[in-house]
Symmetry: C2
């Protein structure tokens, strides 16, 4: 069995499909696509996964792998009370009520089962911890060993191997084929696609006896398409996504009538560093250390400008309004408390350490007196447990920032997640703009829209991919 | 020359087009469509307007007719400094930066000319006043005599009559016809359509030698389509729009590849009364009296809950969060200051008058002591010129609420405007999702998206319809 440079098993991958027909075709090999393929195969369907890139895993493989679920033993051990209803309420609050309630209900009710499936059935090893991110009202996020989605992709691929489901790489789907009734009956794709190279000429058709499942991911790296929805997001903003996170399959679905919903709801990652490409090593510090326990400072004023515990959308908008990168700051105690290995980010120069506040201020060109004042005020508020500047409680685990070395990182938003996409129902069927499910077409994951509304909470995307991907696979197998 | 029940001239309207071909076909007969038709005809094109309803005017005819423009003599006389740049900045602030900057620039730079065109060329009579609405930083809004869009529709129709441009009524466009190159070359429509009746069977084709202009309006009354973008907006919310404000032409455009942008940005009218249908008589009180000079009170607490001078989106969201209708309150001095005739709203029972605060409190079941306290606090803040509850200046024209009779109205949001729609460029060409202008297809008005971003400011829609409609007409005539 081969492994690629990321140590991911590559079972039965091929550059050319030997098949010209399968019960179920899956477009995309991220969390949603692989989950769908497994369930469809386990339900007895013959399945083929089509992936345009030369390696499986999509954009999922570069995520941090964090998954949200209520009701785990990790929470019980930590004395955390949680429920699907509480997670549902958190998602709707962050989503500003734009979320499709019935989809959020399914996802929050299925979250625990999906998490246990990855751990107990697929064998993913999780760190013995439970984390909270902005917008969640309790800690309910779990991270696989290695802090990477690759661990989960690896487990999903291993299961696909057991099930003898092949993955055809370099397969760029151009067309969803329909019969006269409008039923999706297969795809036409370009064979031998290589991202960034001229389009290949070899076209192939594969028919789907039962259904096609679209799990092609989001469009965070599709500058033209994202800019048409939000003109601020031009090519001056980087993306945390792979360059392959583009909109072509979403547009192909729209071309056969799939209803696009909430496309202009695009999430920016506020924890990103402008000093590295992609998702990078910095978010581990920004999201896990600075936001819960540290402070964000505008270098121009030396002052804070927002609650670091705000939800992602509020944080990113607050950063954009500063017009320039801001500085995320924490101390050794905060870093130690979180226990993350920041050596990669430090080695890259993304996160820096300083023996004193003066040195940190000098490096980031912050007025040292203003910075001292901001830190002193924050530390007082930590002691009182209340962020009086923004009328929010401070986490009880937080402590005053006073233990050197002090850590600093520049933060500037990157395009991270596209909440909008094609409309699906609770059976993962794709909905036509004329109000009916398109026969033979299912979808799951970031290519779909309406689940997270105005703002996706951290770790909820993987939960969504697993829950909806599995539903799509089961339904497609019996379509 | 016929007139309909609204006193609108109906020149050359017909239930059956004698033409089977025109240079330019215009779909829709609201502000955008009629402006486009006039300009196309004045440029020498033969033009036919297709309107699905049995009377021209679309939803425009039931608007209040308010138009925003910077740099008028009304502003000079009132000592108001304004500029296209300031209006541009206001629109982008309200739009949360989602607005397409190049379109906002064209509209704000063309606003004065469009306003003068209606007044000096078309002969619309405006009231000798200039108003401010929430989100505008200065007063720049003008209202035609009669406080209705009908005045402007009438003037546009009169010009069309002079130009011998026919309007075909009851023409329900089903299909945009394309040649092999993808160029739009005409339409197929159902003849004799009557809203709410079974679809007619008679199909007709009309070819367009030069172009088709889509000016079919928004989808505020299309419950399924709006709910797919914002699930809160189900049939429990009324709309200020006519029942005919539906999405079918928008969807037809999407069906030939038009890129839909920002569809989930749907505006709610916060000034609406749940005690009447449609736009109604209440907004005259809510928008012109309560928001600038009065207060909004939650009847459950007797207290204010938002700044009444917030922009429309913030106001509507604030109302929705109350979960029940709120009470808008003003005094006789505020009503007199604005000078509006509220007799219609009072006769309908939508706005009520009371001799004392006690009677007002009793009627709306507000705790009288709590109401007295809120009014007293507001009056103190008016004297100081600062709304300390929401950190905003109070308008200098405002005075303490103390002159009986006191006026009250229940307010509850209605779906009012759909900011999203199909993408257009600065030449009003419709943009395909694959990044090119669709040959032969133009669009203007509420059917287009991206101009107002997250929130349309009051009176900016008519400005948009006129500026972009005229551009569409000129460009189509030379297409």
């Amino acid at each position: 069995m081969q492994t690629d440079e990321q140590g991911v098993l590559r079972p039965a991958v091929c550059m050319e499909s030997a098949m010209d027909c399968a019960d179920v075709l899956v477009i995309g090999s991220g969390f949603a696509g692989l989950s769908a393929a497994i369930e469809a195969a386990q339900a007895g369907a013959s399945v083929l996964v089509l992936e345009k890139m030369r390696a499986p895993g999509g954009n999922s493989i570069i995520s941090d792998g964090g998954i949200a679920a209520p009701g785990t033993t990790y929470q019980l051990d930590a004395g955390i009370e949680d429920s699907p209803e509480l997670m549902y309420a958190d998602m709707l609050t962050a989503g500003e009520g734009l979320n499709f309630p019935e989809l959020v209900k399914i996802i929050t009710e299925g979250a625990l089962d999906a998490f246990l499936w990855t751990r107990d059935d697929l064998g993913v090893h999780y760190l013995n911890r439970v984390d909270i991110f902005g917008g969640h009202s309790v800690a309910r996020c779990y991270t696989p060993e290695g802090v990477s989605g690759a661990a989960l992709i690896k487990a999903l691929l291993a299961r696909l191997k057991q099930l003898s489901v092949p993955i055809c790489l370099g397969a760029y789907v151009e067309t969803l084929l329909q019969d006269e009734s409008g039923r999706v009956i297969g795809v036409q794709y370009l064979e031998g696609y290589q991202h960034g190279q001229p389009m290949p000429h070899s076209k192939k058709v594969i028919l789907a006896r039962k259904a096609v499942i679209v799990a092609a991911g989001g469009f965070g790296s599709d500058v033209w398409f994202r800019k048409a929805q939000d003109p601020r997001l031009d090519d001056h903003l980087m993306s945390t996504n792979k360059p392959s996170a583009t909109a072509e399959i979403l547009k192909t679905c729209m071309g056969i009538g799939a209803n696009p919903v909430q496309l202009s709801r695009i999430q920016l990652g506020a924890w990103a560093s402008p000093d590295e490409t992609g998702f990078g090593a910095g978010p581990l510090f920004g999201d896990y250390v600075v936001f819960p326990y540290g402070i964000l400072v505008d270098p121009a004023t030396g002052g804070r400008f927002t609650s670091e515990l705000s939800d992602r959308r509020v944080l990113a908008e607050a950063l954009l309004r500063q017009k320039h990168p801001v500085i995320g700051i924490a101390d050794a105690a905060a870093v130690k408390r979180e226990g993350w290995d920041l050596s990669k980010a430090i080695a890259k120069g993304v996160v820096k350490t300083f023996g004193s506040w003066e040195k940190l201020a000098e490096h980031y060109q912050i007025d040292p007196a203003a910075l001292q004042k901001s830190v002193a005020r924050f530390n007082e508020m930590v002691r009182r447990g209340l962020d009086e500047d923004y009328h929010k409680p401070i986490l009880k685990e937080a402590s005053p920032l006073e233990v050197p070395p002090f850590y600093g990182m520049r933060l500037w938003p990157k395009v991270h997640h596209t909440m909008g996409g094609i409309q699906v129902d609770t059976s993962a069927r794709v909905i036509h703009r004329d109000q009916y499910p398109i026969p033979g077409l299912f979808a799951a994951g970031e290519v779909t829209g309406g689940i997270h509304g105005a703002c996706r909470l951290g770790s909820c995307a993987i939960t969504e991919c697993l829950v909806m991907g599995r539903i799509a696979g089961k339904r497609a197998a019996s379509a």
